[in-house]
Point group: C2
Chain length 142, copies 2
Amino acid sequence: MESKDAIAILKSLKDKGIRFTPQRQAILEYLLDTNSHPTAEEIYRQVKERFPGVSLGTIYNTLNMLKENNFLLELDCGEMSTRFDGNAENHYHVVCRNCGKVVDFHTDLLQLDALATEHTGFAIETHRLVFYGVCGPCREIH
Amino acid sequence: MESKDAIAILKSLKDKGIRFTPQRQAILEYLLDTNSHPTAEEIYRQVKERFPGVSLGTIYNTLNMLKENNFLLELDCGEMSTRFDGNAENHYHVVCRNCGKVVDFHTDLLQLDALATEHTGFAIETHRLVFYGVCGPCREIH
DNA sequence: GTCCTTGCAAAACGTTTGCAGTTCA
DNA sequence: TGAACTGCAAACGTTTTGCAAGGAC
């Protein structure tokens, strides 16, 4: 069902001395299984249902480990708190100013990096693009 | 020297019942005069040199007021803390992964909004685009 | 057996809020 | 005069850190 496999990812990290723990497996499986862009607190609540004793510290520990290894994307969604995206592949986000919903949007805009390099002389490695607006359902209400 | 005038901006806000205070003038003048994308703390330190008694609360108060009135842009620069840009016109940012420098980069990419609307059905109002890479000087060192 | 990871609690961090006194209009 | 604003300090929510116990390899 999942395009990526939590177990495979964790095993691939063993070379770096990163250990496979059931908590990490549960966190990663949840992240790969959802497309809801959860906050750290939401991840904590979900994982706690399978691991009642898990601590928020472990959630942050694992999120930071995954971020450092590029298996996780951290999103800044305007005024909402930080959210996480288990899909670190190239895609963009659209945030509803009214209900806070975050939607993925896949397209290929690699030419933007070349444009930025040309203007600034930086060696551009990546970019982050977020759109803000009002989603379909919220437009009907207002 | 400045393209915008702090006094003119503050006077234009009087209609909304927003008062002109010397602290606000000092904060706005500093923001318009710098292109260094300061953090709230940096703004506080700078303004305190002219107003030794100014409080960090007043800095945040003023920054929020300016944000609400679209005279200020709030930036999320990856792992660094929030930074502010006194130039709220359409432009993009390039962040150096090595030294943290933030550089402006002006270009017109309004067609991106149309692309996002087409893909998602949102009424897109604005977008935020940040590039990450390594700046010229840092490339020479490494 | 080693040392990485865990849970817990306290601390740190950036930002917001409450309040009494002050200032602008 | 009266509402808006100030400085100060306490509170807030999120994230990080310290440490002793536990678990992976």
